[in-house]
Amino acid sequence: MIEVQNLSVRVGDTRAVRRVNLSIGAGERLGVVGESGSGKTMLALALMGMVPDGLTVDGVIRIDGNDLSRASETTWAAYRAQKIAMIFQEPMSALNPLRRIGDIVAEPLLVHQGISRNDARQKVLALFDETGIPDANRRLQQYPHQLSGGQRQRVLIALALACDPSLLIADEPTTALDANIALRITDLLVRLSRERQMALLFISHDLSAVSRTTEDLLVMYGGDIVERGKTRHLLASPSHPYTSGLLSARPRIEQNAGPRRLPTIPGTVPSLFDLPPGCRFAGRCDRELPICRATIPQPAATVSGGFASCHLLNQPSQDQTGQAPR
């Protein structure tokens, strides 16, 4: 479906995304989690062929078997909407306030599929029904400001689905929404991915939203994928110090709750131009080794059945140096 090999996005001398490999098959749901500056949005834009001017993309992006890494803008334009579609964080700014909802969602159908207005209208009604927008006939005539935040996000999803894409990229789709609305949107994305056998790339900094939505997970930091694996296993037993740090710094609801200090990751997310050349988490890591700062760690197998790029995993473990493994 979509396959990415050795993808980098260069900004001058530095890289916002460094040698990323991933693949998502039909009906699979992959999550990307990371803080601001981790490169997750840049990765999404590279997959849409929409990296801002001045940045260069290297590596292979294969969609349904076709390599798009050197594709022209015209080729990309044909793939966008038809094969890959994207939904964004802020549904209000992604919808033209001067146009009616029905016209907005019908546009890709008229442009890309060349069907009649009447057929497009029927298709839009079906999409509204599929994405759980009630009172579809009346909605066609409404403007974005007349809808609530959750409804706008559903309209954006309907718009993205209009041309039946094989991959849907959702970049922080629940961040601007209230908790209970966010729950319904993630449920909707999971259902759509299953029913349509559509690949879903779900990008978020919200670990709860990612864990509800995805089967596989990538953890990004400073443009690198630092850990990957099955979402459930990875979150249950993280291997990379950054993943563990992120999980423990996150406020949790516990039974014996009450005010308590949270474990923290020292320092702040460094700027793109200030990243260490080796492991990008060096300098903030509490288990740093002398090798970390200068040498890029290679992915190694983790206890959760995934991979993590961390020098600690390549160190001789206690089993080998001390007692014999049982």
Partner: protein, 261 residues
Amino acid sequence: MKQSLLSVENISRHYRLPRRRLLDRQPVLTAVDGASFQLQRGETLGVVGESGSGKSTLAKMVMAFERPDQGRVLFDGSDINELSAAALKQIRRHFQMVFQDPFGSLDPRRKVGWSIAEPLRAMATDDLSQINDRISATLQQVGLQARDADKYPHEFSGGQRQRIAIARAIITHPALLVADEAVSALDVSVQAQILNLLMDLKQELGLGILFISHDLAVVASICDRILVMRNGRIIETGPTAQVLTNPAHEYTGTLLVAAQI
């Protein structure tokens, strides 16, 4: 009976909305509807609810930025809406606020030291000769360095900017801090640092904190007690552990589900 630091008695606030048609009556939005609660010194009270539930309007009334249509807000026993303008200005030093957006709340053209000292100049009652010492001490209190006073806001990260905003709020030695979504715009790794800072300041300074957030997990990790708001009403209130383990209201249960991993 011990006097509460903050006592809110049955306050309501309505806003008139634009007319739908020329001769229609103006529709009225009830932002806060009969809210009552108390906050003690050294206590952190969380206010949680979705957007539009009235959390921020409540904060504005506690800060005397808005006047309630009904009810009273008592700070240390005196009704802040009955005070003269001069008297209100005098006691404002005792309750300060931290806002959500650390980018929008600092003047980009002023050095950080100037911004932090602004509340002191606004009071105009303190001895301003020692103002630089106060700035240095406060910066150190929030985990920054004294020399940071000579930098501009753009030289700091989001988390550091939120530390600056907190420094500005505590420089007047307030008894009450109102934090409206103070960590919502921060990354998880930095959010934990700021939450810990607020907890430390509460201990050191005996601050009462009114902590407003839409995120139940964040509120649960810092607050002694929680209020849950919905549609302008307080629908649930109690000690943190009780609200979390035994939510009385269905909506609180939804918030709990949304925060699970």
